[in-house]
């Protein structure tokens, strides 16, 4: 096999076809404890939602429609697409002890349980009531979420990037290219390969020709 293909295969994480995804990330110890290599659990059926029709994102404010905290609104902290789960901040909690050791009983904390997408509804920004949401195109051609009941656009939540960078406040480093240089168009299409063009620019003349070789 080609080396690059082999390396990329190794880099991509491979899960068995009946892997049960939980709230823990697959590379953590807790997930490995819950999913040891030989385990077989009852299959979990997940409603297939196409990638383009997914409407709930991290940072959205949603309302719970059924369950313990029915009627409450909360912010989405985590989204699990492979199980149609959503974790809200501080809602739908159960209590457990964390960091238990031999002598210490552990810290009693509230941990959130995931909610299915069926039990969640996005909120209309104007009247703060739960609505059905559709994906529609604006006049500019942008795809936006529109509440079916009132027709108002539900804006995409502003979430801080994971690397902590705020694009508006970015300052160039010494090794960064300025925006003007990045967007400057210098390409002139021509019937020359890169090598020929570069040799021309550098003034390299190669009068030698390749020896006859055989390809088979």
């Amino acid at each position: 096999m080609r080396l690059t293909a082999f390396l990329s295969m190794a880099a991509k994480a491979a899960f068995p076809h009946d892997y049960r995804f939980g709230t823990n990330r697959p590379w953590t110890i807790a997930a490995k404890r819950m999913n040891p290599p030989g385990k077989k659990r009852r299959k979990v059926f997940v409603e297939p939602i196409p990638y383009d029709e997914w409407s709930v994102f991290r940072g959205d404010t949603v309302e719970i429609l059924s369950g313990k905290d029915k009627g409450k609104q909360g912010k989405v902290t985590q989204v699990f697409r492979h199980r149609n789960w959503v974790i809200l901040e501080g809602l739908n909690t159960h209590f457990r002890y964390i960091g238990k050791s031999a002598n210490y009983r552990g810290t009693y904390i509230a941990s959130e349980a995931p909610l299915l997408l069926r039990d969640i509804s996005l909120i209309d920004p104007t009247d703060r009531k739960p609505t059905e949401v559709e994906w529609r195109f604006t006049e500019e051609g942008e795809k936006v979420r529109v509440s079916v009941r009132t027709g108002r656009i539900v804006p995409k939540p502003v979430v801080q990037r994971r690397d902590g960078i705020i694009p508006q406040q970015w300052k160039d480093g010494p090794k960064d290219t300025s925006p003007e240089d990045t967007l400057e168009k210098t390409y002139m299409p021509s019937l020359k390969t890169l090598e020929e063009e570069v040799m021309e620019k550098l003034g390299i003349e190669e009068p030698r020709r390749n020896q006859k070789s055989y390809w088979y």
């Binding site: 297939p48 694009p167 480093g173 960064d176 300025s178 967007l183 063009e197 070789s213 055989y214 088979y216």
Partner: protein
Amino acid sequence: MAATSAGRVLTLCRQFQNAFRISTTLSAQQSTVTLTKGRSYPHRLPSTLLSSSWSCNLDLAVQCRPLHTTISRRGLEEFFDIPENWGEATVKSGAPWTAKQLRTKSNEDLHKLWYVLLKEKNMLLTIEQESKRQGQQMPSPERLKKIDRSIRRLDTVVKERENALRLLQTGQERARPGDWRKDVFGRIYWYRFREHALPWYMNRRYKRKRFYTPAFVAPHLRLRLEKYLRAKTRKQKKESENQAVLKEKFPQMQAKSQ
């Protein structure tokens, strides 16, 4: 449309990429040519200056008697980060180059950028190895990933341009010649040609390769085909059973199945 595209351009402007301030010192001419990304290239061509100075150097070398001097250490500092970043826990870096941005650049620019990225990658790999040796965390390892992606995208863009030119001028779809051949096991695969100095009828090792299926393999071909068909049918049946269960559980929406 205009507002959002301007907004997108603005956000693009705020994502910056890696460049390098290359400074070359030429001993023959005692002059320093600094190539800064913003100003000099692609309009100025200091590369011609470089080539003339190197040829000057060679002439001098031919005329003088060979003389042993101390090893020059210029340029080794380029294997390490700039002194301001020494000892920092995190070093901030901009976004990697996207293929869309690279496609707007000329071949000469891409050629220069390739070496800039290569040197940066060498620098980061040195830092990584050094931190491993000292048993410490490498500062900002995401820089390596960004550089890798930029290099791969640059390669993709260059390959695209090569492909387009070749298709236009010769009609050949592939850069490397090859052929569909049968191996000893009866499987048909794309055999990629290799370059040789001798023709095939004089190459003993090549003549020992078998690009045909011996007669005793024929019964196994049928068995292999049966195995493959059985596996395929099993998979299809499983998929249709899965679909039936999903439809039963979620009757409302059955838009697209995985």
